[in-house]
């Protein structure tokens, strides 16, 4: 089948050691091509672990993840990853950062320059190609990271709390920006967040996680058009539902910490 398919995946950190930490437990989730899925859950519930498994950077302890029917065993440019921090390479210009993957793939300098121009324009950094990463603001850096991921024409974008380090105004703009890019790129997006508003603004489907070890607690499908007014009665209703679901899990996590 096409798209991303996660079947009965469990992840236990330090599985052979004295203190194994179960992060994800027996989780099954499909992401259709072009779908925007948001993983919502309390901190440390294993959402990021799942993302790393899908990226191919970590191996599942049991179960399997596959993409277009092929099992994921290693990282691939098909599955772009965006971290909370932009992690641009400080020794490269913004332009060279964006086209780093193309250079590795052996594209000619001419092709790379064309791609850089197109991508920088797409993310609104047309005039910043020659700058160094440290000369950009946090939001601009994250846009450059987005351009770098898009350069590889990924089939799915994995985003690990990509806007968590940004201020609230920048965040809102970046979310809108991401939606525009998503609609034009036709890639699937799997985005991890602990912000209910972010989930509501972006997702086709919200997957609410339990506290650790992460399991799926609820799935909420949102089929209203974007941009969405988060203050409409309908959206406030959704927000309340999410809040209630999360509150239970946060409560559970606190109790567990008290016992430990």
């Amino acid at each position: 089948m096409l798209g991303l398919s996660i079947k009965n995946v469990s992840k236990i950190w330090n599985a052979d050691g004295l203190n194994p930490v179960p992060a994800v437990s027996n989780l099954t989730l499909d992401v259709a091509p072009g779908e925007f899925v948001v993983l919502l859950g309390p901190s440390g519930c294993g959402k990021s672990s799942l993302l790393y498994i899908v990226a191919g950077l970590e191996k599942a302890t049991s179960g399997s993840a596959s993409f277009d029917g092929i099992e994921i065993t290693e990282p691939s440019p098909d599955r772009g990853l965006i971290f909370q921090e932009a992690s641009l390479y400080p020794w490269l210009s913004v332009r060279d950062n964006v086209t780093f993957g193309l250079k590795i793939a052996g594209h000619t300098p001419v092709k790379r320059a064309e791609a850089a121009e197109r991508l920088l324009k797409l993310v609104g950094l047309a005039n910043s190609g020659d700058k160094r990463p440290h000369e950009l603001s946090g939001g601009m850096r994250q846009r450059a990271a987005l351009a770098r991921a898009l350069a590889m024409r990924p089939r799915v974008l994995l985003m690990d709390e990509p806007f968590a380090a940004l201020d609230i105004q920048t965040r809102a703009r970046m979310q809108q920006h991401l939606l525009d890019i998503w609609e034009s790129s036709k890639a699937s997006i799997l985005l991890v967040t602990h912000s209910i508003d972010e989930a509501l603004a972006l997702a086709d489907r919200i997957v609410v996680f339990t506290s650790r070890p992460g399991r799926i607690k609820a799935e909420i499908t949102l089929d209203m058009p974007r941009p969405r007014d988060l203050r409409s009665p309908e959206m406030i209703d959704f927000a309340r539902r999410c809040e209630a679901l999360l509150a239970e899990e946060v409560e559970k996590a606190f109790k567990e910490q008290e016992l430990a």
Partner: protein, 301 residues
């Protein structure tokens, strides 16, 4: 901080270095460190001269600067770039011979530093890249690292005889092991994100080392080199006194043997100034060539 164009970054790194500050404020900012250096030096010289004036410092044993800098041609006589035997007056006598002697010493330091930097970087990368090589050689490097370069002097003389090679070898030894260990620690501290992103974009192991790890560690490794520069200077002087027979170290040793306190302090002055200029030169290279600063790097240095 209102002066300067919008484009100019305050710390003046990167390509903006080419934009020379044109207004008085920027000029003052550039001159300020120099003024502090001069004030620092003046304070020291002043205290020394004061001690001499009050009769606390015996001018025969601790001649103050105005004495050992008084008769420069007299001091110049002892500098012979061709390397005269200790105690003898060679062909020296002009400012050129003094510069020649400094030049030889500087050349030995530079060669040793370059060799040490390149080879320690290569060793460090190889230890992490080739697992078995790493396991075999890391214990050895760690065991050799604490041995003082002074202990290597006999080895250097046995193997290389008298001349430039033992001095260069000792400078090399003084930084090689420390810098190899520094390289390893820097490689281990390259942010995981950097490497994971490279993997996602399809880098092979070799490409990760070439395109990510190497540029990520170079600036901090260069800072380590600068920190070890003074150690290298100390070692080259010892090596010259013992195993070369020319250079600033040899002049110092000759001054000691002939009880020429003025010459001792004059040579020490030259060594101090040259070392200072070396550090400045390395700073300049660092700023121009290795301007980027990653997380965890000692960016302030």
């Amino acid at each position: 901080m209102t002066d300067g164009t919008v484009e100019t970054r305050q710390d003046g790194v990167g390509r903006n270095m080419q934009q020379k500050p044109r207004n008085p404020g920027a000029l003052m900012r550039m001159a300020e460190p120099l003024l502090w250096s001069l004030a620092s030096l003046a304070l020291f010289v002043g205290a020394w001269e004061f001690a001499w004036w009050r009769g606390w410092a015996n001018p025969l044993l601790l001649p103050p600067p105005h004495i050992f800098l008084a008769n420069l041609p007299d001091q110049f006589r002892f500098f012979d770039p061709s390397g005269a035997r200790a105690g003898a007056l060679g062909e020296g006598g002009s400012i050129w011979s003094v510069l020649g002697v400094i030049g030889w010493t500087a050349l030995r330091v530079t060669t040793g530093l370059i060799l040490g930097f390149v080879l320690s970087l290569a060793t460090g990368l190889a230890i992490r890249y080739f697992r078995i090589f790493g396991k075999l050689s890391l214990p050895l490097v760690t065991m050799l690292a604490p041995i003082s370069p002074v202990a290597w002097i006999p080895v250097a003389v046995f193997v290389f005889g008298i001349g430039n090679p033992p001095a260069i070898f000792l400078v090399f030894i003084a930084i090689y092991f420390v810098m190899t260990l520094a390289t390893l620690s820097l490689i281990d501290n390259v942010p995981r994100n950097y490497i994971q992103l490279a993997q996602i974009m399809g880098c092979s192991k070799r490409q990760i080392y070439r395109h990510v790890i190497l540029p990520a560690i170079l600036p901090a490794l260069f800072v380590t080199l600068r920190m070890n520069l003074f150690g290298a200077w100390m070692v080259v002087l010892i090596a010259e006194a013992v195993g070369v027979g020319s250079g600033l170290g040899q002049v110092t040793m000759m001054a000691r043997n002939t009880f020429n306190a003025s010459l001792v302090f004059f040579t020490m002055t030259l060594i101090g100034i040259t070392g200072f200029l070396f550090d400045q030169a390395l700073r300049l290279i660092q700023r121009k060539v290795l301007w980027w600063v990653g997380p965890g790097n000692a960016g302030g240095l």
